[in-house]
Amino acid sequence: MSTATLAAASLNLEPANESGMDQLLEIAMGPQHPSTHGVFRMNVVLDGERVVRLKPVFGYLHRNHEKIAENETYLGSMPYTDRLDYMCPLTNNWAYALAVEKLAGIQVPERAEYLRVITGELTRLQNHTCLIGFLMQDMGASGTPLMYAFRQREIILDLFEALTGARMMCNYMRFGGCRVDLPAGWLDQAKKVVAGFPRFLDEYESLLVSNEILMDRTQDVGVLSKELAISAGISGPMARASGVDYDIRKVDHYSIYDRFAFRVPLGSHGDVYDRFMIRLLEMRESVNILQQAMRDIPEGPIVDPKTKIRGFRPKPGEAYGRIEGPKGELGFYLVSDGSPNPYRYRVRPPSLINLTILEDLCLGRNVADIVVILGSIDIVMGEVDR
């Protein structure tokens, strides 16, 4: 926030300075706007087309998620987590399950861990492809990359449907494992999808990566410095694009990520182009993880038999479970008082926290840059507003 105010002060924001030529124009971008990724509003003050002030306004999609969860059973909140970041329900499930497992001290069987990694990385693939599609849409590419992304996402969603019964509202993870085992033939189909994914990424890259217009539009736009990224608590691909070497899969060693060989790509400029490229590279690493996980997946039970579905009451205590979601650090903080409902339930939404620096990135830029910067942050309003 301090940098924003400093920048605003240095830009001399008094309306109409001596010459009287500079008229500031205040426009409300959103909540009904084609490229605010949902019902999000930015009150933008413009000098010509240059942004001098930007105030994000959100809460249009607030639905009291945390309070509802405090009045639900532990299991009852699971389907609601699907609706946080509705692009990636399975990682939301996972983070919540992880928090409850920590709280109640539940062990997860081997096979279930593999299932979680496979579904989680598939989620990452479809989130990143779609994000890049949306980013290009914001840049005015008349939908072509978005359509390719959706074509690919559809294949992954079919896998999700075959496994969990729903394309987006999966409600798949359970405390101590997963709800259902893989149906017959699912793994072969998934292997085929993952094997075909690098070819799609090649196509995507040849369409986008070296495009001069794209490079000109994104390079040195919305630069997020490493210092600001760290102090603002930015996480996920956005932090890594600024050169912050922070991937919870590597830091926390949660689940079974230690068993897979994968690399964490890091950016050096912290601009929109880096954020876009980091996501592309991450998808290739996800494909690596998926191939290893699908090769090694063992037989066995998929859920801890000791965990009850009904009448689940963890002992009093608190726990914070977090995973590396596609958008960043997704964490759930739970306090139990021994009753069937959590005493306190709190989500750390990566979308919201990554969004806090929007003004710092947009000051002094064009209107056209705002939408690109916002697109590169990767927000889903379901998660921002909760």
Partner: protein, 397 residues
């Protein structure tokens, strides 16, 4: 003259002959007026149909590029989709913002469509098929084109919407900036043809050496001029990647944000008609107008060639739209003033040199070098100045 040749000639002139035949039934005094009305009606019908077809072609083509079918529900292969769109836009509620300047708000789309249709007066669509063979035809065309800026401003200003105003400002800045390279790129043809009359320019190109036509695009300066003209034309007609004035992801719909129903459709029509007109001018100036690409194909009616070329250019427009993201305002301006303007001026010089050098191999080499080398130098210079590059990334351990 053989029977066949006579028939092809009649086929070529079928519209002209029909018009003469119809007019011959009228009294002499009324003939000029009726002739004008007839040709205006013909142009409006022909190009409105082309507009309908193009919207369909665009949606289908974009669809295929994006791995979808495109519209295929209304009529066979979705052929009646434009009709359905027309009915839809006609029956929609016409909303005028309460604070809008009603008169100007109403007049803007009318002026836009009128201005964009007026350009066709000087376009030779086929042999002997031009409405007015003006002495200063090309000048007329650009003069009418400048009227569109006024229409765009009227639309943006009268809506009293901030997005409209931003869009109008963008549009005017863009159109004025690209009008300069557009006109300068076409001046090379005027220099070579020595005439401002479109008919004279096409007639000059409709001759052949062997089977090859004398189109201006087949010379170094002509090719460069054509490329520059097309880039500027894309920007003039607000097509992707220069569609900033409407930039839907940024400023909703630009200057026609506050238009709905039929007025919106009129803007849409105006944009497309303007695009056809500019493409038609490019065909007239560089691609030999209605002339056939090979001398042995001259038996095919001349108007067929004009529309074939027009559709080719439109397809390229659609292809580009399906591929490229939009430029930003400052990048657009930089392209106009730092690349297009120097290149068009250089092209003028090249044309002069071409004109005064003896025909031969040397002339080709000198002029090609004069066009290609600066283009590459300027391009990479700009790229270097902007410092954009394909980056390599490292991985943490």
């Amino acid at each position: 003259m053989t029977h066949l040749a006579l028939m092809t000639q009649h086929l070529d002139q079928i519209f002209v002959l029909t018009s003469h035949w119809l007019l011959s039934y009228l009294p002499i005094a009324l003939q000029p007026l009726c002739s004008a009305i007839l040709s205006v009606a013909a142009i409006i019908i022909a190009f409105a149909t082309l507009f309908a077809l193009t919207t369909l072609l665009e949606r289908k083509g974009l669809g295929r590029m994006q791995n979808r079918y495109g519209p295929n529900r209304v009529g066979p292969c979705g052929l009646f989709q434009p009709l359905a769109d027309g009915v839809k836009s006609l029956t929609k509620e016409d909303i005028v913002p309460i604070r809008a300047d009603r008169a100007v708000h109403f007049m803007a789309p009318v002026l836009l469509v009128a201005a964009s249709f007026m350009g066709y007066a000087v376009l030779p669509i086929g042999r002997n098929m031009v409405m007015v063979d003006m002495n200063a035809g090309v000048l007329f065309f650009f003069a009418i084109g400048s009227l569109m800026e006024l229409a765009v401003f009227m639309a943006g200003w009268s809506s009293r919407s901030k997005y409209s105003l931003l869009g109008a400002m963008r549009a005017i800045a863009q159109m004025i900036s690209y009008e300069v390279p557009l006109v300068l790129a076409s001046v090379v043809v005027l220099m070579q043809a020595g005439s401002l009359s479109t008919v004279a320019i096409v007639n000059m190109q409709a001759t052949y050496s062997g089977i090859w036509p004398h189109w201006f695009v087949f010379t170094p300066w002509g090719f460069a001029g054509f490329a520059l003209f097309m880039i500027a034309a894309t920007a003039e007609s607000n097509r992707s990647p220069f569609d900033l004035p409407e930039g839907e992801s940024e400023i909703i719909a630009g200057y026609y944000t506050e238009y709905s129903g039929f007025k919106f459709a009129l803007f849409f029509l105006g944009e497309y008609i303007g695009m056809f007109a500019t493409s038609g001018m490019a065909i007239t100036l560089f691609l030999g107008g209605w002339s056939a690409p090979f001398s042995f194909l001259t038996w095919i009616p001349s108007y067929f060639w004009f529309f074939a070329k027009l559709l080719t250019i439109i397809s390229v427009f659609i292809w580009i739209r399906g591929t490229l993201p939009r430029l930003r305002m400052d990048q657009l301006m930089n392209l106009a003033w730092q690349f297009m303007l120097p290149m068009t001026l250089l092209n003028l010089l090249t044309t002069g040199i071409w004109h005064f050098m003896l025909p031969g191999f040397l002339r080709w080499i000198v002029c090609s070098t004069m066009v290609i080398v600066p283009c590459i130098l300027l391009g990479s210079g700009l790229k270097y100045k902007k410092k954009f590059q394909i980056r390599t990334y490292h991985f943490s351990q």
